[in-house]
Amino acid sequence: MLEVHDAVVRYGAITALHGISFEVNQGEIVTLLGANGAGKTTTLRMLSGLHAPQSGQIMFEGQDVTTTKAHMFTSLGIGHVPEGRRIFPQMTVEENLEMGAFRRRGSYTEDIERMYETFPILKERRKQIGGNLSGGEQQMLAIGRALMGQPRLLLLDEPSMGLAPMIVDTIFRIIGEIRDSGTTVLLVEQNAAQALRLADRGYVMENGRIVFGDSASNLLTDARVRAVYLGENVES
């Protein structure tokens, strides 16, 4: 579904991605693991056209999207839940959801109702402005907003960041449901253990490179991953 070949991204003199290659197949949840600054967020931003790669190629559903502009990606079928949620702070919950459907033609009121079924709290808050929501509510809204664009591939950047453990569990359950409903997911997470338990496959990034990739179950038992990313937390 998505293939990245040798992609290089530079910001001025700094090279953020040194030629990374990976793929995401239809129906999978793939997770990118790595320390802060490893290039995970840059990878997702590259896949949404926010940073065009200086070299390399990105193919999505057989189409070359390497130089496609950011605002074209939702129509292509790629949704992005950005790091830090990035809710429009002065728009209401409902307006935020409508922004997610900005590129769609025709009526999408049914989809908004469906988002309210998935995230009942958003229905209660529908007339409140985004900036007044709690972190967890904002994360649900950010996910709902991206789903309003009917993506076939959903990019999720640190959806558990700064959230209470109970909310994190809810978010992960919903990510599983999103995959089960047919949307492929590329997930960037600090919470490696939880991400790997949900994911089908994973890649480990270090200093702008993908150092290895494997099935999630293998990564969960991999000595290197356990030492660096799972630490003491993992119960095997």
Partner: protein, 321 residues
């Protein structure tokens, strides 16, 4: 001391006598300030920069409609329906010219800088350069003395409120200004187009992830602000000062003041700031010689910013709804 008291007492008396006519005149000027202020505040909302060449957008609207009126009216004295049609044509001509010049400014003076991630100072210099170029070009092409605009109507007192005469000129300003300002407010609050502007103002990058074409949205803010300023240029030109190459300087500076007064980036703030400034300026004539009006206007700006740096309504183009 007694002299000072006497001074204020006599001026308060003037104010009481002239209250309603000063209010009407102040509102009329204020509506035009508001129309120009919208352009500053919209561009600031999306780009975080002050388009200091906006004064020349206003001037272009004035000149374009002046030539149109000259061609259509000549030395005749229009009346009735023809007057209404002429005013509409004048507003449209001014608006289209303003929008076109604003669009060109974006394309030539700002977009190349944006592509290169230039520092804010570069935009300021570019704006001043564009402004200089435009008004000197106008001065060279159209002469450096003001021309009075052929009037599309016979100005007269239409009615009086509390004894104060309300001229047709003021009614034209009110009707055109209020229609345009309310249309803009509704456009931004309720349409998809408006939503894209608000989204871009709140978080341009995330807006682009939603499918908003940021480049196009930026052009749109210049076009909308330019149309309002150009139409205001026509209305201003109908007044006794007429049109001239330098006509934009002071009104646009006042409009910028109004935008800051209301809270830069805030559409309703710009409208309120414009009206307020127009009225306060008008009332100040009762107390000080008319030549001090500008001192009063900028004095207010300084005072407001001392006590409320974000302006009356604060900065929030996003919530302009």
């Amino acid at each position: 001391m007694a002299n000072l008291l006497h001074y204020f007492a006599s001026h308060l008396a003037t104010l009481r006598l002239e209250f309603w006519s000063l209010l009407v005149g102040g509102f009329a000027t204020g509506v035009m300030y508001a129309m120009v202020a919208i352009g500053y505040t919209m561009v600031y909302g999306v780009l975080r920069l002050i388009n200091f060449a906006h004064s020349e957008v206003f001037m272009s609207g004035g000149f374009a409609s002046y030539f149109m009126m000259r061609a259509l009216i000549g030395t005749s004295t229009p009346s009735g329906t023809w007057s209404v049609v002429l005013v509409i044509i004048g507003v449209l001509t001014g608006g289209v010219a303003g929008a076109a010049i604003a669009m060109l400014l974006e394309r030539i003076a700002y977009r190349p800088l944006r592509r290169r991630n230039a520092p804010k100072l570069a935009y300021l210099i570019s704006a001043i350069g564009a402004s200089y170029f435009l008004y000197n070009l106008a001065g060279k092409e159209f002469g450096r003395i003001n021309e009075s605009m052929p009037s599309p109507y016979i100005n007269h007192t239409v009615f009086t409120i509390f004894g104060a005469p309300v001229q047709l000129y003021y009614i034209v300003i009110f009707v055109v200004g209020v229609i345009m300002l309310i249309t803009l407010d509704r456009l931004v609050a309720t349409t998809k187009l408006g939503r894209s502007v608000r989204a871009a103002a709140q978080d341009a990058e995330t807006a682009s992830l939603m499918g908003v074409n940021i480049d196009r949205t930026i052009v749109l803010t210049f076009v909308i602000g330019g149309a309002l300023a150009g139409a205001a240029g026509f209305l201003w030109g109908l007044g006794f000062t007429g049109v001239g190459f330098y006509m934009g300087f002071t009104p646009a500076l006042k409009a910028f003041t109004a935008a800051v007064l209301g809270g830069i980036g805030n559409l309703r703030g710009a409208a309120i700031g414009g009206l307020l400034l127009g009225v306060v300026e008008s009332f100040s004539v009762a107390f000080v010689p008319a030549s001090y009006i500008d001192v009063i206007a900028f004095g207010i700006l300084v005072l407001v910013l001392l006590f409320r740096p974000t302006g009356i309504l604060g900065e929030r183009l996003g919530r302009s709804a």
